[in-house]
């Protein structure tokens, strides 16, 4: 009997905090997303409101082939389509290349700094490199003869989204690089040696041995990166709060604006957005956690 009660005693502090600050809020958020401001049950009305709001869903410009804004949902989607392949590719490239470079460990630490610094500071760094005269991006464009394009890249609705997405590759690549580096260390060196003896080219060795052996690392990198992209908030907020003209609006920002900035605030619509965001992340997340538990 004692053995049965005892383990629960150890768990009480954890369960207490988790129920109050995580479990109950999750259930409560879902619940209030089905209520209106007067507290009446309105079914999916708030969700319908979310999708009729141009700052969340606005595919018109996209269909007509015009530049953003396209609304937060599409912006997050574009973020994933551009940022995911780039940061996975660069992370793998750096992990493989820097293994054979003298001082590679130091370079890796420098690249990884993007993940260590506050995202708020990361946003400041991005805004700074994209400034008109003070920014290094425009200086570079002038050097390669594209000076006529120079502008404050984060100040226009049609350029801010792509600027932030590319900048966020700079911030996040360190993550995939570090996970891939650890994955590479786990590959038995005999595999590479026997490939060499068999006369396999570098290219072939990379595709036939390195990439397949890194599959577990790739799964982690892809899911964690997807979650990061869906929840992106700080860098967007610190630069333009989703603007200008909603050109950099993303789901987490519109949720925050609805709940705490717009007057009157609307917890119910904000909860609907949060619930949508969570549903989108949950599939990827559950898959990853399932793998982690099995280990």
């Amino acid at each position: 009997m004692r053995r049965q009660i005892f383990p629960f005693l150890f768990l009480i502090p954890s369960l207490f905090l988790l129920v109050i600050f995580v479990l109950f809020p999750v259930v409560n958020t879902v619940y209030i997303s089905f209520l209106n401001q007067e507290g009446k049950f309105v079914g999916f009305d708030n969700y319908a409101k979310v999708f009729s709001d141009k700052s969340f869903w606005n595919p018109k410009n996209l269909i007509e082939g015009k530049p953003p804004p396209y609304g937060a949902l599409i912006h997050n989607g574009i973020w994933i389509m551009i940022h995911l392949p780039l940061s996975v590719f660069f992370g793998l490239l750096l992990a493989v290349l820097l293994r054979d470079v003298k001082g590679g460990a130091i370079i890796k630490s420098a690249v990884f700094l993007g993940v260590v610094i506050p995202m708020i500071v990361g946003g400041v760094l991005l805004r700074f490199i994209y400034e008109d005269d003070a920014g290094i991006v425009n200086a570079f464009l002038r050097v390669i003869g594209l000076g006529h394009l120079a502008r404050t890249w984060t100040a226009f609705p049609d350029t801010i989204l792509l600027s932030l997405i590319l900048g966020s590759v700079w911030i996040w690549t360190g993550f995939s690089m570090i996970v891939y580096s650890a994955g590479l260390e786990g590959i038995p060196t005999e595999l590479f040696e026997s490939a060499k003896i068999d006369g396999a080219s570098r290219w072939r060795t990379f595709w036939r041995i390195t990439v397949p052996m890194l599959k577990p690392a790739t799964i982690v990198v892809v899911t964690m990166t997807l979650l990061w992209e869906l929840k992106i908030f700080d860098i967007v907020w610190v630069i333009q709060q989703g603007g200008p003209l909603e050109g950099s609006m993303v789901m987490a920002v519109i949720m925050y604006l609805q709940a705490f900035v717009y007057r009157p605030t609307n917890f119910h619509v904000a909860s609907a957005i949060a619930t949508l965001l969570t549903v989108m992340t949950f599939g990827f997340a559950a898959y990853l956690v399932n793998r982690m538990v099995k280990s």
Binding site: F21, I120, V124, L125, A139
Partner: protein, 288 residues
């Protein structure tokens, strides 16, 4: 193999090595430049920055940025750093002890509902902050802990528990149980065994948790911005930076200096505990 072949092979290897080094050098340059730029901006007057920090015809280094950021009228870093430490230190150590107890229970005891309970807790780590913030905001107002660091610390503690319990349970599972069983036979209580035998063996894992959680809490902006009123006295470090940036032409000297100061703390933690930090990031991960 003929002599010629060997020379050819060597040449080929060399070419490849040079290429790799050139790419590595270029990439590291791209990654370092923004940091270097913000550092140069932090020690130069505004007109020189607007001229491009990479121009050095005129170069009058100044500490004005650091001094003004430190004593900023609406967001003094002197105060914001202290506030951030007041939140971060307890938010780092409290969850570790609570999670360690819970994880130990999951790793060492069999009890009904154990596996389902564990799965639920672990799944909670995937919940986005946006999903809990409104009810938490309401609760904090009701219990009088809104705009109170204790409230923020509680939230950070709760949010850290799922991944820390998972991390520590995996660590405990591979520790040998024989020592604990021997102590048990000698009449030591479970709590004593836990604190005297298990925790010391767990030090590397605790170092990983400390490094990650400290940096995570220090860097957090979302919880802080909802739960702490942005006044000069109560702002945290991450809240101070947007306040200095403003919407129009920022004073880049001051903003850059503030950015340097605020990011130095997580960077210091990372450098000091690098091995544990990286292990923590990949542990739950690559093992999978």
């Amino acid at each position: 193999m003929s002599r010629l072949n060997i020379v050819k092979r060597l040449k080929k290897v060399k070419k490849f090595t040079i290429l790799v080094h050139v790419i590595a050098f270029a990439v590291s340059l791209v990654w370092i430049i923004p940091f270097f730029g913000v550092f140069m901006a932090s020690i130069r007057p505004l007109p020189e920055i607007l001229d491009g920090w990479w121009n050095f015809e005129v170069f009058n280094p100044t500490l004005r940025g650091y001094i003004e950021a430190w004593n900023h009228p609406s967001a003094p870093l002197s105060r914001a750093l202290l506030n951030s430490l007041l939140v971060t230190i307890p938010s780092t150590f409290t969850p570790i002890f609570i999670a360690a107890l819970g994880a130990y229970s999951f790793a060492r005891f069999k009890f009904p509902t154990r596996d389902i309970l564990f799965l639920v807790i672990v799944l909670l780590q995937t919940i986005p902050q946006q999903m809990v913030i409104i009810p938490i905001f309401n609760t904090m107002i009701r219990i009088g802990l809104w705009n109170n660091y204790i409230g923020l610390i509680l939230v950070h503690t709760a949010f850290a528990l799922p991944w820390q319990i998972l991390f520590l349970r995996n660590f405990f599972s591979v520790l040998p149980v024989e020592v604990e069983e021997a102590a048990r036979i000698d009449g030591a209580s479970y709590l004593k065994i836990f604190y005297k035998i298990v925790l010391p063996l767990t030090l590397p894992a605790l170092a990983s948790l400390t490094a990650l959680q400290f940096v995570w809490v220090w860097n957090d902006f979302f919880f802080a911005t909802v739960l702490i009123l942005p006044t000069p006295e109560s702002r945290l470090a991450t809240q101070a930076i947007p306040a200095m940036l403003g919407r129009l032409q920022p004073d880049w000297t001051v903003v850059s200096a503030a950015s340097i100061i605020v990011m130095l703390i997580p960077i210091a933690i990372y450098v000091a505990l690098q091995r544990y930090y990286v292990r923590g990031i990949v542990a739950g991960a690559v093992k999978g």
